[in-house]
């Protein structure tokens, strides 16, 4: 187990380094830099351009810039935003707070809706209820998230005369306003994830109910709820946890569009606006953070699998 852990960690570290390098190179491959944006259509003086480029260290060779950034990043310093002047780590923390809340709420709603639906569909396999739930799953998995969001926004306005507040408030400052902002984005994301959950749980339940010990339990005349909840569901819980990890990665990846659609100041927007403004420290820091989270979750899922199923251990 220790050897496997070490090996996994090493390969995760390599992936992280390659990602950091890729992030750095990709950023510089996008044409145009912050200096052009700051000077716009007015500041055409070469002296001004060179002065600003020197100020940001953009006049130095790329490899020197990379090594410098890497060194500082390893020392735990992601630098400061070129526009905002705030530490990138603080900006990531702030934005991640928003994204994490969005992900957590989505996960909670999706679990509360998806798991019961999946269990019911599994127990009632082949009935009309099952068909209805499966249809929901199919539609939920197929509808573009931002399209659902757009329709919800318009629907709320047209039929309820309601709109989200749009100006961000942290939950700690103003819980009601915060939840009002989160409402539509969470619903749009949760429909997809609830469908994914429900589909997954249904599959597990169906497989579980066909197994020997359940059949034995049925033959013994145990009450149905005991069969379902004591035997079947318990075995479903472990794969469910790992699936949660996958869903989380998926949510983190899918928030960019939803954050843009609803003006949420989360990680996706931070990366997008950083990209547009060519704020290299912000994009590099935030992308690296997202990559590390994805690597971390994948690692955790792998380890969990290995803990459950010894055959997966190398």
């Amino acid at each position: 187990m220790a050897v496997m852990l070490a090996r996994r960690l090493a390969s995760a570290a390599v992936a992280a380094f390659l990602s950091a390098l890729a992030v750095f190179l990709l950023m510089r491959a996008v044409p145009g830099d912050i200096v052009a944006q700051m000077l716009g259509q007015s500041g055409t003086d070469r002296t001004a351009e060179e002065a600003l480029r020197a100020f940001f260290g953009l006049d130095r060779p790329a490899h020197a810039q990379f090594l410098d950034w890497l060194g500082r990043t390893l020392a735990g310093d992601l630098g400061r935003s070129w526009y905002q002047g705030r530490p990138v780590s603080a900006m990531i923390a702030e934005a991640f707070g928003v994204t994490a809340q969005l992900a957590a709420l989505t996960l909670a709603v999706a679990t509360l809706i998806g798991v019961p639906l999946g269990v019911v569909a599994g127990i009632r396999e082949g009935t009309r209820i099952d068909t209805a739930i499966q249809t929901f799953n199919l539609l939920g998995l197929s509808a573009p998230v931002y399209w659902v969001g757009l329709m919800l926004l318009v629907g709320a306005s047209a039929f309820l005369g309601w709109s989200p507040p749009f100006i961000w408030r942290d939950f700690a400052d103003d819980p009601a306003e915060n939840l009002a902002i989160m409402l539509l984005p969470v619903i749009s994301l949760a429909i997809l994830q609830a469908a994914a959950y429900s589909q997954f749980v249904r599959g597990l339940m169906v497989a579980e109910l066909r197994r020997e010990h359940i059949r034995t339990a049925i033959a013994k005349g145990l009450a149905p709820h005991e069969i379902y909840f004591k035997h079947a569901l318990r075995n479903v819980l472990i794969p469910l946890t790992t699936f949660m990890g996958l869903i989380l990665v998926q949510i983190l990846g899918g928030v960019v569009v939803i954050e843009s659609l609803f003006s949420l100041p989360g990680l996706g927007r931070l990366i997008l606006s950083g990209l547009q403004g060519r704020d290299y420290p912000v994009v590099q820091g935030a992308l690296l953070f997202v990559v590390l989270i994805a690597i971390g979750i994948n690692l955790l899922v792998d380890l969990l699998y290995a803990a459950i199923d010894p055959r997966l251990r190398p």
Binding site: S19, S142, P144, W147, L150, M151, V154, G268, L275, V291
Partner: protein, 275 residues
Amino acid sequence: MIAAATLAGTRITPGLALSLGLLAAFAVLIVAPGLIAVQSPYDVDPSRALLAPSAQHLFGTDDVGRDVFARIIHGTRITLGLVAGSLLLSALVGGGCGVIAGYAGGWFDLAAGRLADMILTFPPIIAGVVITGVLGQGAGNLVLALAAVYLPTFFRIARSGALAEAARTYVEAARALGFPEWHILLRQVLPNVLPLVVLQYVILFPLALQIQAALGFLGLGVAPPTPDWGATLEQGKNFILVAWWLSLWPGVFLLASAVAVTVLGRALRERLGGD
């Protein structure tokens, strides 16, 4: 083709029938959109801008007066074609590398594996945004960006398949009989890995469709006047209060095509005995 061959003999459920029907309809739209939509998807006429749906314009018109029905119908080929093409590219390159890596191992396996890990750590939409940012706009670059996003998935599937095949006794037997390595790879390993790749292709298709449309929605899709569904959605989002038809129909078509392919994917997976 392979999908059809694999499906042969499968019980046709109502869902599968619906899916196959939809796919057939989409095939018609792809091959001969002009049969269904007689109006031009490109004709600009500001004097008939944002007209509501009517007998003349079934899905209404957009902000420069183009017929939305024609644009959606003609957009089928663009949208589904782009996704199909990029996944095909991804399957060929990723799958090919995966088979070689799994069968041959060694440094190639190691290097390609790390590269795949790296790509996989980027959330798909962000990866797409960054790549289109570097390469610039355009259909070709969109295909490349989408292909890159799914490269590691195909690589992993093909690699693990090839790894399992390589350990089989018939491969050892073939080697003992003196068959050259390339022959074993092409004749023994590949045919057994192929169904896995095809299945993955069908499973990824709806996901890639969403990413493609999301990139279009962020303004990073194909350039106008090409009638792509995601781009039509992006165009419609500003007019959604006055012209809902501009946003509704591309979403419905995206939904329908994703449903059709998903159902097909499930049938295939059952057939192949996967879980």
